[in-house]
């Protein structure tokens, strides 16, 4: 199963999500290659090899400096065809999604996205995609090759096991229309912390906090964990926190790795906005709070006492 893994890079480093996908690919098969597309990306090849790629293709060109999808589609399409890859994997990101879809159209190749697992079954590649708010999992496949897959961000952890890869430099030849979109100003790292849609960690507060002032407890814990702050509808209704942070049926849907719910009862209107979270920790003084039915760690106690202590311990650990 000759597989190509797209490795995204940012500020001189391979992106963690891509490396995780690379590790998974290495689990599934032997013939694993990775591709780096950008400007000045060659130095990243070693690290990429260390994370599981036997071969690393480098498309290094100033025309690829900006993180725009279409030039990358041009290079990938030719590479896939010339090398005969039957599988191309992407770790999902804003950029990767556009590339994968463009490539699917270019090659008339099947693309399955939002996958949380991949396995080989009797020689067939089967992907697992959560549906209906992560309440059921659909098993999906491909009817032709190459097979393209977008893996949900953060699904696989990178592991270093490989060795120095073979490096192959690739020519960069672009279509006219691919270079028409131009990066005028590129984004730099956000200074205020992640938005709740992108955050790996979310600390959410509900009515159990008692009053608006107590949201500082939630903020403190979020900061200590490097996460974002979210709120329930009841709290936003009461004016304690802005609507942009509302999670739930009438707010945002989030699926961070870690969701810590403070003083939230967890009615279904809230649940549907966060039930896809990796690990759910709920702190509530009501032992019968509905949220305890779907949390991984149910903590029955007073948020006003537990959260500050938790924040201190986390800060101590992280040395922050």
């Amino acid at each position: 199963m000759p597989t190509l893994v797209y490795v995204e890079d940012h500020e001189g480093e391979p992106v963690k999500g891509s490396l995780g996908v690379l590790g998974k690919a290495a689990d599934l098969g032997d013939d694993i290659a990775a591709v780096l597309l950008g400007s000045g990306v060659e130095p990243l090849a070693e690290s990429v090899g260390a994370h599981g790629a036997k071969r690393v293709f480098i498309a290094d060109d100033s025309a690829l400096a900006a993180p725009l999808p279409q030039p990358r589609v041009d290079v990938l399409a030719k590479l896939v065809e010339s090398e005969g890859f039957d599988t191309v994997l992407f770790g999902a990101s804003v950029l990767a999604a556009d590339i994968a879809a463009g490539l699917a159209a270019r090659l008339d190749a099947g693309l399955n996205w939002d996958l949380v697992d991949l396995e080989l079954r009797d020689g067939k590649l089967v992907g697992k995609r959560p549906e209906l708010g992560d309440s059921v999992v659909a098993e999906v496949g491909w009817t032709s090759e190459p097979r393209l897959a977008l893996i949900r961000s953060g699904t696989f952890e990178p592991s270093e096991s490989g060795s120095s890869p073979e490096i192959v430099r690739v020519d960069v030849r672009l279509e006219d229309f691919s270079t028409k979109a131009v990066m005028v100003e590129q984004a730099h790292e956000e200074s205020q912390g992640p938005s709740i849609e992108d955050a790996d960690v979310i600390v959410a507060g509900g009515r159990g906090l008692g009053q608006a002032e107590n949201f500082s407890l939630v903020e403190g814990l979020a900061k200590a964990l490097g996460g974002a702050v979210a709120a329930t509808r009841a709290v936003v209704d009461a004016g304690w926190y802005p609507y942009a942070t509302q999670v739930g049926q009438t707010g945002k849907t989030v699926s961070p790795k870690l969701y810590i719910a403070c003083g939230i009862s967890g009615a279904i209107q809230h649940k549907v906005g966060m039930q896809g979270s990796g690990t759910i920790v709920a702190i509530n003084k009501d032992p019968n709070a509905p949220i305890f039915e779907y949390s991984d760690l149910a903590v029955v106690g007073d948020v006003h006492e537990i959260v500050p202590k938790l924040t201190d311990l986390v800060q101590a650990r992280r040395g922050s």
Partner: protein, 566 residues
């Protein structure tokens, strides 16, 4: 200790919802006949009008670009319709002569039926009274009926305007000339949000109010034109639809448990369990809102009902797929408005109280009244006539009084009121009324409005089952299943006195199936007065609050539940 909801009236004045048209003439939308409400009554009126206009093209021409328009506050017709339902096909046959029953929007014919008196463990079969015989009737979903009728109405040329709330009755020169639709895009405090869209005036030559139970403009019109001298009373029905593995084969009604028969409780009602096709069951609990124990909750009584062996068995292995709630006008004949028309318009359907409680029927009366209103409307639209000349719409009232609608309601007029006296006395009185074909009792019983009944905080909630998420469910997850979508930051559409006696507050909190009300802090511990908080976005617009001392007004068009199989 007890208190009466009527002593804490809501900040509501019907006059707020009556106005002259204000849009400049070229911005007003003019239609021929405006029908407010896309339920069976309104849609039957629209369909009948289409038929009549087909035979009278000159009038159709005269009515302009939009001869018949139906405004509906739900996202689509059917979205806000909820009922049992066992339908008498009579009105369908009248509206669609020659149509075969299998082409009508029904689920199945009633094969068998049973009436049971329940205790907490047992079910005693009772002989069903003639009023409840359903031979020849069909089980149906009223939301499906609504969608089906809307399609027929559109095919026939009516324009259906969904997501549009009718907020203000346009009255000019003492006559109703149309409605003004509600604004959309106001913020919590009433201010205009960036996408604010003001309502519009729709003027019409005839306005037919078909808003159903607790219709907003219906209430406004009854008040403005002094049309309702006797009080109406309501029941609250909370209903669920389940997918079940085993086919259920009969129409079941129950009385008794979980309601209490004692006179002080005034708990009138029962449950229904109907098969909705091969693998679905509709069941609901219906309780008169004149109950006296503030801790009673119809939603929770439904949950309790499901734990009865009879019901548990029917639902075994099944899965709840829908939930909803709605009030039913229960006063019957003795609570009808004094007249059914006003200058410029008419009232049809549940809004006019045309429901036969002992037979549990209302849909065919609604449709029949809609048809009769359409016929009167057409007469009033003939050349040289208008709908606001004196007597112009009188023919609707007389047609109604000559129809089976009137006869049926008159015959059973004392049955529901009898139950004010508790179950046993009530059953005796009702039995007498029934057997005498309405001649007994000799003097009609008087009805008292639901809000006048003093409520006390009793112990009813002690036995409500905890939600287990399989058979029994809490209110919030039920609201979710109704498909309710009401904008969070919209202004509250519910008018209540926010500082009331604890007993009244408790009654509202328990009564509301959607958990809209909560008791805030103590407003005045000495006077036993508490604050009431309102989460209007939970509201499924059942109308119970209006019966019990508050006032429901329509939220933004499109908001509210999305019933599909109710």
């Amino acid at each position: 200790m007890s208190a009466r909801p009527v002593d804490f009236p809501p900040p509501f004045d019907a006059a707020e919802f009556v106005a002259e048209p204000t849009d400049p003439a070229d911005e007003r939308i003019e239609v021929g006949v405006l029908i407010v409400g896309g339920g069976p009554a309104g849609l039957a009126a629209a369909i009948r009008l289409n038929q009549l206009l087909d035979e009278d093209p000159a009038t159709r021409e005269r009515l302009g670009e939009i001869p018949v328009a139906v405004v509906e506050k739900g996202r689509a017709p059917g979205a806000h319709l909820l009922s049992g339902a066992v339908v008498n096909p009579r009105a369908f046959r009248q509206l669609f002569p020659g149509m075969l029953s299998e082409d009508m929007p029904f689920r199945s014919r009633v094969e068998r039926e049973g009436l049971y008196y329940l205790t907490s463990k047992r079910a005693l079969r009772l002989p069903a009274p003639p009023t409840m015989w359903n031979h020849g009737n069909y089980v149906a979903s009223i939301s499906e009926i609504g969608r089906w009728l809307a399609e027929r109405a559109e095919e026939g040329g009516a324009m259906i305007v969904p997501e549009t709330a009718a907020r203000t009755l346009l009255v000019s020169g003492g006559r109703v000339v149309g409605i003004r639709t509600g604004d959309r895009g106001r913020g919590r405090d009433g201010g205009e949000l960036p996408n604010f869209e003001a309502g519009s005036d729709i003027t019409a030559r005839v306005t037919i109010l078909a808003e159903g139970t607790q219709g907003h403009l219906t209430g406004v019109a009854l008040d403005r034109f002094g049309m309702q001298s006797r009080p109406q009373v309501w029941a609250l029905g909370v209903k669920e639809v389940w997918e079940v593995p085993n086919r259920f084969d009969r129409v079941v009604h129950t009385m008794g448990w979980p309601l209490r028969g004692g006179r002080k409780f005034r708990e009138f009602g029962g449950s229904f369990i109907y098969p909705l096709g091969e693998n679905m069951v509709a069941l609901g609990m219906v309780v008169g809102l004149d109950y006296a124990d503030a801790s009673l909750s119809v939603h929770d009584l439904l949950q309790e009902l499901k734990t009865h062996p009879l019901v548990r068995g029917i639902l075994a292995g099944g899965k709840r797929v829908s939930w909803g709630a709605k009030t039913i006008p229960e006063g019957g004949f003795l609570a009808l408005p004094d007249r059914f028309h006003f200058p410029g318009g008419m009232i049809v359907g549940d809004g006019a109280g045309l429901v036969n409680v002992p037979a549990l029927k209302g849909i065919h009366y609604a449709m029949r009244s809609g048809m009769l209103a359409a016929e009167t409307a057409l007469e009033a639209l003939q050349p040289g006539r208008t709908a606001w000349e004196p007597g112009a719409l009188e023919s609707y009232d007389s047609a109604l009084k000559k129809s089976y609608v009137w006869k049926d309601l008159e015959r059973v007029r004392n049955m529901r009121p009898a139950f004010q006296y508790g179950f046993t006395r009530g059953a005796m009185l009702a039995g007498a009324a029934l057997n005498s074909f309405g001649k007994l009792p000799p003097r009609d019983l008087k009805l008292e409005s639901d809000a006048q009944v003093p409520v006390f905080i009793g112990e009813r909630s002690r036995t409500f089952p905890a939600a287990d998420g399989q058979l029994t469910f809490d209110k919030l997850s039920s609201v979710y299943l109704s498909g309710n979508k009401t904008r969070d930051d919209a202004p509250s559409h519910i008018r209540i006195d926010r500082k009331v006696r604890r007993e009244v507050a408790e009654a509202w909190v328990r009564m509301c199936p959607a958990q809209v009300y909560e008791i805030g802090g103590e407003a005045s511990p000495a006077g036993n007065v508490v604050d009431v908080e309102v989460t209007a976005s939970n509201c499924v617009q059942c109308g119970a609050i209006t019966a019990k001392g508050g006032r429901l007004t329509p939220p933004e068009g499109g908001d509210g539940p999305e019933y599909r199989v109710m």
